[in-house]
Subunit: 374 residues, 2 copies
Amino acid sequence: MIVDPIRSGGVVPESVKRSLLEYLNGYSVCMYCPGDLHKITKPNIKRLIQVDLPEFMGADVVRLVHGAREAFFTVFYALFKEHVLTRGDRAPVIVVDGNTHYSLELAAERSLLKIIETETSGYPLFKVGLEHYEEALESVVEEHGKPPLVTCITYPDGKYGNFPDNIKGIIKLAREHGSYTLINAAYSIGRMPVSLRDLEADFIVGSAHKSMACSGPLGVLGMREEAASLVLKRSVRHPSKEVELLGCTVRGLPAVCLIMVMPYLRRRVKEWERVVDLARYFYERAERELGLMLLGEKPHSHDLLHFETPAFYKISLKLRDRFFLYKELKKRGIIGVKPGITKRIKLSTYLLNREEVDYVLDSLREILELGEGD
Amino acid sequence: MIVDPIRSGGVVPESVKRSLLEYLNGYSVCMYCPGDLHKITKPNIKRLIQVDLPEFMGADVVRLVHGAREAFFTVFYALFKEHVLTRGDRAPVIVVDGNTHYSLELAAERSLLKIIETETSGYPLFKVGLEHYEEALESVVEEHGKPPLVTCITYPDGKYGNFPDNIKGIIKLAREHGSYTLINAAYSIGRMPVSLRDLEADFIVGSAHKSMACSGPLGVLGMREEAASLVLKRSVRHPSKEVELLGCTVRGLPAVCLIMVMPYLRRRVKEWERVVDLARYFYERAERELGLMLLGEKPHSHDLLHFETPAFYKISLKLRDRFFLYKELKKRGIIGVKPGITKRIKLSTYLLNREEVDYVLDSLREILELGEGD
């Protein structure tokens, strides 16, 4: 049973796996290519891109990319060339929340952009809200006399599973400051209903291998019409090709996988309330009965759960074995707590049912008792 | 039977396909990650990168990337930042041969680099040699007073399957002019023995889904030590991560596929002479007996064969069906000639044995007779 947050949302349904065998070869989608990956109708990538995903993500324009980080880079670098190098009307800066993912920061660094991180409410909630963004946005305008190029919002973050407070307010504020807005939805698209249109941002990024039951690497980049026109410029030398995508991106199996899992994804996001209820049931019992302490917002609204676990750390010292927790869980068929980690652990209940959640709780209790017993 | 040049080298062995099923999930390689894809030992990506591929490609340093085009971009953009934006000691120009692949040109365009294409010997051989590069290199130095950033050599190209004349001389000349050198070996690494060290260039790029029997997307970037240090700088904020790779690249199945096919690749490149002999046997008979005319160099040294086929074009006019050739071949189980193409066709004999080559010749003859019969 997988309880690893980065893997729980990327498990491909067994029935799809078998159908994917015939697409394992290199260039398995390119036989009927009219010159652009996104126009292939056999398999129907065109429909995926033009109908299924725009509907699923509430975006005007969608493109397949190699993953969420590659989507961040694609957006940052295209906007950097347009608004920093060419027009000079934006500061070479992005504003990010204090819980942002390192890969987004790498994408900014690769694009020669400076990173301004907002404060958070700090330990133990680590909440981010409008006031944190206001401060960061103001500081950029003050220093550069220009708005930051992009304001990024993690929705939710991968450290605590927190959603920002008042995301629509943050997006509105960023736009009023003259900044583009990008939502990192790597932990939401494919798990829960998400709509770029509802959130009114310019860009939204999903990770298919993280939260869309897909083989990797694969990400989705959703855009509003006007924003898309900046990122999807066509090549001067090869006018049928989009320069920032280098013509074609995911030329193979992961694209087919996403086509095949779309019906499943549409169904599963409707179950999100049940998923959150189960996560709450788990952490409430883990806190009350086992003494684990959940970090991040409460009530929690995501299956990614980050616990402080001083009791496990103590046992690891006593046993002189920092791998004991990993090993004991593995013995019990529970996979996903990083080997060697005992002070704080991240768990996801995404793939579990109520019975399995109880089993994980019982297993953790047994392992705690093991430590006491010695 | 697949005769499509872009797909013939990317067919994954059946035995490997079955073992890949368990790696279809997203992040299937990340369970034991110590913080960097290229350091994962379970599955052993570290060994692939540090031992197997450096040996196989004759490179000091190797990295996995999403494909050949992504490797070109990674190199161009990193060198652009270092040598154009920062040091200003190179012209924002790349020199490429007249047979270069469009994706390399897109990678340059995305990196804000101008493209200077060499001449070729033109129809029907389209050969590129030292004299063509000399002219192009001189023209850049004359115009900019600085060397071009990178000189790129397609080895062989994907239009005609031509190898450049005197590639070592070209690389030496480019280096003497002060330019970095990059070999596009998307059609050679994995099909035939290739060594960056022997060729004495700075970068070499292979395509795993094109020529390394791999599921896609996946490419390999081989570098000489000094060249690698420019491309693989570490992040200031996240020092364990390589910025130009955005931390990790191919986080999933294709990386495992390459590990699994390495023994097969080592064996198959030793068979290259036999592959070339069969391609020659095919085109010699096709020219002599069927009136097809091979474009590109003769004797040919690659399985990628580009024929002029005026007879098929005539039949398509007569039948008022430009898809007839595709359909007739498909009827006979021969897959890979692009639907709608009849004037010039590209074929690869890579996956065929002598008997199958004879069958393809017989089939083409039948189809020609079909046209005459009406």
